[in-house]
């Protein structure tokens, strides 16, 4: 199921399906995130705080606004962690 990164549950492994447009997309790509790349969502902060993902053993924090424009697809059922 395709969904936005902030809607994805914590601890779920997922694959990027569509990057946000514009500058933010470029910045994410510079950090190693691109369509087809797998990662694990670690957490999302409350009050529209950022989402943290684990990408190749490295944490990356993504602001709430951008994470609601990053489309991802869960690679496994919730509960299993990568």
């Amino acid at each position: 199921m395709k969904q936005t990164l902030n809607a994805l549950e914590d601890g779920v492994r997922a694959v990027v399906s569509k990057m946000p447009a514009g500058e933010c997309g470029k910045r994410l790509e510079a950090l190693g995130l691109y369509p087809g790349k797998a990662f694990v969502k670690i957490s999302g902060m409350p009050f529209h705080g950022p989402v943290t993902i684990l990408l190749d053993q490295r944490q990356i924090a993504i602001g709430h606004g951008v994470s609601s424009h990053l489309i991802v697809e869960a690679a496994q059922s919730p509960g299993e962690t990568g």
Binding site: C24, Y34, K37, H48, Q59
Partner: protein, 602 residues
């Protein structure tokens, strides 16, 4: 002599002139660029290779400008340029823009630093640099940490893939540095051809698959701690614990140094000397007034006498220096541990509502030490609007360690609640002013997108070096200003200038702030140094409430001279003027409101 363009992240390394990197002799014209992603250890390499101390921390964006030093190998002398960390040469922020320019200007050789723990992402920049056709050498750094994480990179295979020498290194311990220097002569142009952007990841993927092996390993304690630190509940708990512990550590170290070491030293060793000097000069003589100041019951009162060598030395070395040492010890530890970017995640939601994103906690925390490095560090923020908001908020509502030491020293003796009132007033102003600027300034603020470094145990050597450079920076910069400030204050008072100015602003001070016009002199002198200004308030005999109003107003009005200079450099004349207008308006509004509340309550 090394120079750094006035742009490195901390005044400790920058404004003081740097340690010997060797004089730049005329034959030293060859240029080596040191490039790599943010936070891969470039500054550690730079320090190792040149002997020039570059401030390095465990978070991306420590070096926003660039530094230059001299590297001598057998027979050749190079100018080594520490290029700011960049993920790509298609710039997405200011540091990358500087990096792009430096690489475009070219050099005789390039050292590309790769982080072995994140090879795929690091190869983006590496390929872009290799494609420029400059003779290159690759340092495969942090191989120890990669091994611990189960990542094994075959440097010989990588050397074949890239067509340039690859040397495994651990810059913080110096491992592999000698080999890297030895292989500089083998630097060559990579045979790799340009990659079109759409097939970049594919090409990198195939290189990585041939040179890297990832061994599965179980979650370590560090992994768990890293995950918990960004968890909505555990993260907040850890954040509160870290901040409270830091605060307690600063207080304990600061007070310990004052009560056990410096105050006893001043009382037993400095006082007798100064009293002798007082006898020689003769109380009442003008030189006595300048140097020793007023005697109370025939004795020097270190806090109130207000002479250059009595109160001047005491303020600088007993009241302020201990807290500077304590603050920078704690901050440097937090920086090198890798905790600060995690704090950025916790604070992002709050800061986003005042027009800056979470990463602004780093300049803000640095500002709690000294506003100068704080404002310089606003360069980690992407947009001009954010930098303006962050720099203005730091100048207005973030008291530097010297000012805080004096506030705690002076008001803390009267009652803890007065200290809390000052901090409360500053915090509320910070929120309201940020909110207002966010609403009123045109444009929008970008989102947080940042790499979080792994936790690392700070290396004792790097930690002590950094601490020493920061303390030395404070001493070199503050001593002449503190002593000169007190001298100037005494001269101006004697000449009647302070009295004249005080009369001119008396209505404003009496009516709006409820302060005697004599307090105006102190607040005006705050332009030189704010700690001295608080010192000037002490002999005025103000009530505790008046002291609160005066210190809050003093903290928020004009920045001290050093802060003013960097504001001007960072924001330009027009925005600095705007920022100053905001400071004055906020200071008198906050001071006036506090005064109104106090008079209403009494």
């Amino acid at each position: 002599m090394a120079h750094c363009n006035g742009r490195c992240s901390s005044c400790g390394g920058c404004l003081q002139g740097l340690e010997p990197g060797g004089a730049q002799t005329p034959e030293c014209t060859k240029r080596i660029l040191l490039t790599g992603n943010p936070n891969v250890g470039k500054s550690a390499f730079f320090s190792r290779l040149t002997g020039v101390h570059a401030i390095s921390s465990n978070y991306p964006g420590t070096t926003v400008g660039f530094m230059e030093g001299t590297l001598r190998t057998e027979g050749t002398c190079y100018r080594l340029v520490d290029v700011p960390g960049a993920y790509t040469l298609e710039p997405t922020n200011e540091a990358e823009e500087i990096a792009r320019k430096l690489v475009a200007e070219g050099g005789d050789k390039v050292i590309i630093v790769l982080d072995a723990t994140a090879l795929e992402r690091n190869l983006v920049l590496a390929l872009q640099v290799l494609e420029r056709g400059i003779p290159s050498v690759v340092a495969l750094n942090m191989v120890d940490e990669a091994r611990h994480s189960g990542i094994i990179v075959d440097s010989t295979a990588l050397e074949k893939e890239l067509g340039v020498p690859v040397v495994p290194t651990v810059a913080v311990t110096g491992q592999g540095i000698r080999e890297l220097v030895a292989r500089l002569d083998e630097a060559r142009v990579s045979p790799l051809t340009a990659t079109p952007p759409e097939s970049r990841w594919q090409r990198i993927g195939s290189i990585v698959s041939r040179v890297q092996k990832v061994v599965h390993r179980h979650h370590t304690f560090r992994d768990r701690l890293e995950d918990a630190s960004v968890h909505k509940f555990w993260g907040a708990l850890i954040g509160i614990a870290v901040l409270s512990l830091s605060y307690m550590a600063v207080r304990e170290i600061g007070e310990g140094l004052i009560n056990l070491l410096l105050d006893p030293f001043f009382e037993s060793a400095v006082r007798p000397v100064l009293m002798k000097l007082s006898d020689i000069l003769g109380p009442g003589s003008s030189l006595h007034t300048l140097l020793i100041g007023t005697l109370f019951d025939g004795q020097i009162d270190f806090e109130q006498s207000f002479g250059v060598v009595s109160t001047g030395l005491y303020v600088e070395f007993v009241m302020v220096l201990p807290y500077i040492v304590a603050f920078y010890a704690v901050l440097s530890f937090l920086e090198d541990s890798g905790y600060l970017p995690r704090l950025a995640i916790l604070f992002d939601a709050l800061l986003h509502r005042i027009g800056i994103h979470g990463y602004a906690v780093i300049p803000t925390l640095l500002g709690l030490g000294c506003n100068v490095p704080g404002i310089l560090a606003t360069r980690v923020l992407e947009s001009r609007r954010e930098r303006f908001i962050a720099a203005t908020l730091i100048s207005v509502a973030i008291p530097c360690a010297a000012l805080q030491a004096m506030v705690v020293g002076v008001l803390g003796n009267i009652g803890l609640r007065y200290v809390l009132l000052v901090y409360g007033a500053l915090f509320v102003s910070w929120i309201i002013l940020g909110r207002l600027m966010h609403k009123l300034l045109p444009g929008y603020s970008p989102e947080l997108i940042v790499e979080i470094p792994p936790y690392r145990l700070p290396s004792l050597q790097a930690f002590s070096m950094k601490l020493w450079f920061r303390i030395r920076g404070f001493l070199v910069e503050a001593t002449p200003l503190v002593l000169g400030g007190i001298l100037l204050a005494n001269l101006l008072t004697t000449a009647g200038v302070i009295g004249f100015l005080a009369k001119a602003v008396a209505p404003l001070f009496n009516v709006v702030l409820g302060l005697p016009s004599s307090a105006a002199g102190a607040i005006l002198l705050g332009i030189l140094r704010k700690d001295v200004a608080v010192g000037m308030l002490v002999p005025l005999g103000l009530s505790p409430e008046q002291l609160v109003v005066a210190t809050v107003t003093l903290s928020m009005t004009f920045p001290c001279i050093a802060t003013f200079v960097v504001l001007w450099k960072e924001l330009g004349g027009k925005d600095t003027a705007k920022s100053l207008a905001i400071m004055l308006a906020t200071a008198f509004t906050a001071g006036g409101l506090l005064n109104a509340v106090f008079s209403f309550l009494s």
